[in-house]
Amino acid sequence: MLSDAVEPVQDLMPDVKWDQYIAGARAYYETSGGKLFAQPYNSSTLLFYANKTELEKAGIMQTPTTWEEVIEAARKLKAAGHACPFVTDGDTWRVLEQFSARHGLPIATKHNGYDGLDAEYAINATFAAKHLANLVEWRNEGLVRLAADTKAGNYTAAFNAGECAMMEQSSGSYTAAAKAFDGKYELAVNMAPMYRGYERHNTFVGGASIYVMKGHDKAEIDAAKAFLDFLRRPEQQMFFTANTGYVPVTTDVLDAIAKSGEANSPKYATAKLGVESMNQPATADTRGIRLGFYVQFREVFMEETQKAFAGQQTMQAALDNTKKRGDQLLRRFEQTYKGKKLP
């Protein structure tokens, strides 16, 4: 954004009805001033997946919607001899970003960096720190497993194979899970669980979006525009959603799905849930994340929290370290782009 290499799509095509984009997908790719910077494409968000068959075997009839219920279900599963009630890979996107967003918690000051490059990480002092510490405890109790604890070695594979009963994963994973479960288990999908007493906010959009680069001649730009128009068409988005589990990004597609007569078909199961999850009430802290060297921050987070899961340090110490190292990244980013302002 700071390299001035991108032509914001909203500037390029002012006539498109950009307000049709669902809020959670829009905010993430907006400039600080609220203009759409890139066109969302393969959008996903975090959902909760459960193996209904295994849950019912352990006497759980309702798919859990809160963390309290998830853990209660996990205890019952464990009591019924299940080796892997809930599985996660501890990935930053799942356990920190999406958790913070839907609980309305900031990841960093300055509204996650939207309001300036001088933001600082806040993750070690929000409720997210408590949740992450809970994950460590639950793992020690045998309720939560990490990807490396599973036979499959990969948490999605572990869930899809029936080894683990519950997971949080991208909506983009739905088709694979449904196919793997076909005829063996019943799949239940829900919005990602909340802690009791917290109001639900929107989850972030995941996946990718399409940027139009500057410095091309008119013919190329026209072709790019035509391509973006094509991708935005409801029938294209429906085709994409039905075949991948990615979520449609404009409201007219939801209407088109409702009218298609297949609204309850499993191929659109994640569309409704995903959009609902991203359309929950937003706050200034749930717009998205705009923090420099963020990819490196994710590496730092993974490294430090893995040490906590392995018992080498407490989760609080891990998060304190993550904040410290993350802030160093932010300060260096600020210096690298000295004098520049986010668009």
Partner: protein, 296 residues
């Protein structure tokens, strides 16, 4: 030597013949090296657009970063353990294959084959061999649950990495050492045996001193190679984890530079690593190389 060089009477022909390779070396080695040193004094914007001269600030940052020292320490531990084993194991195999024991002739062939396998493929295979549920160590886990899990325990992951590296180092070092052993005149063995030296005595007093040049070569190559070639293994087996326990310097540079877009930091670490490797090789030549007798 002068008689050999006079074979090329044409003045420019030798240079011309060497030019393609020189060009490749300049393009893919000296230019990047220069670029790394250059960038280590700048704060470089990840996607172009500008940079700022910051003097030694990058060096100060890297050298005061505990993660850098941890990665450096791991690199040294790996270098000492993995490289030593990667010479000692092939040495034992070579000594065995040199003797007239059963199957030594086919072993001389078979042990060379892994040379043809890329590091990344070795990594994929070893990740499977050391898998806690289906691999070699799985029986251990049945006895003591959770005893072996490279995905959680950093030490286990490190051991896996060392094992894979040693295995991948066997063919080359085996060939060099075996060649050295085979070139020892048979009469020396006979003379030693006549004097009453048993097989062990002959290994330590005849064979090892006579293959010192080969041992030195393998050690120098191993020590410098292990620092960089381990990349493929780390990337395929552990990804640097768990908790950074297998993030050696070379992998940290890759992660910082290509995944985290910290071009300046990665360049600075590259510069430091390069100086370290050069110093290391220089030390080996100065302190060990001189003592080696190449005459027979």
């Amino acid at each position: 030597m002068s008689s050999e060089s006079s074979l090329f009477s044409h003045r420019w022909l030798p240079l011309l013949l060497a030019a393609p390779l020189m060009l490749l070396i300049v393009l893919f080695f000296y230019v990047p090296v220069f670029q790394a040193f250059y960038w280590s004094f700048f704060l470089e914007q990840p996607f172009g657009g500008g940079s700022e001269f910051v003097g030694f600030q990058n060096f100060a940052r890297v050298l005061s970063d505990p993660e850098f020292w941890m990665a450096g320490w791991r690199t040294i531990v790996f270098m000492l353990t993995a490289s030593s084993l990667a010479v000692i194991v092939p040495l034992m195999l070579a000594i065995a294959a040199d003797r007239k024991i059963a199957l030594s002739i086919p072993a001389r062939n078979i042990l060379v084959w892994p040379k043809g396998i890329a590091g990344a493929s070795i990594g994929v295979v070893f990740a499977f061999i050391f898998n806690p549920f289906v691999g070699l160590m799985a029986p251990l886990n049945t006895l003591v649950p959770g005893l072996w899990n490279p995905g959680i325990d950093g030490t286990d992951a490190f051991i896996t990495l060392v094992a894979a590296h040693v295995w991948s180092g066997i063919p080359f070092n085996f060939v060099i050492l075996l060649a050295g052993l085979r070139s020892i005149p048979h009469t020396m063995h006979q003379a030693a045996a006549m004097d009453g030296a048993g097989p062990w005595r002959r290994i330590f007093d005849v064979q090892l001193p006579l293959i010192m040049p080969q041992l030195f070569l393998t050690f120098v190559l191993e020590f410098t190679e292990s620092i960089t070639s381990v990349f493929a293994l780390i990337d395929t087996i552990t990804g640097g984890g768990p908790g950074g326990s297998t993030t050696l310097l070379v992998y940290k540079i890759y992660v910082d530079g290509f995944r985290g877009f910290d071009l300046s930091g990665a360049s600075t670490q590259t510069a430091i690593l390069m100086v370290f490797v050069l110093l290391l090789a220089a030390c080996q030549f100065v302190f060990l190389g001189r003592r080696i007798n190449y005459e027979r």
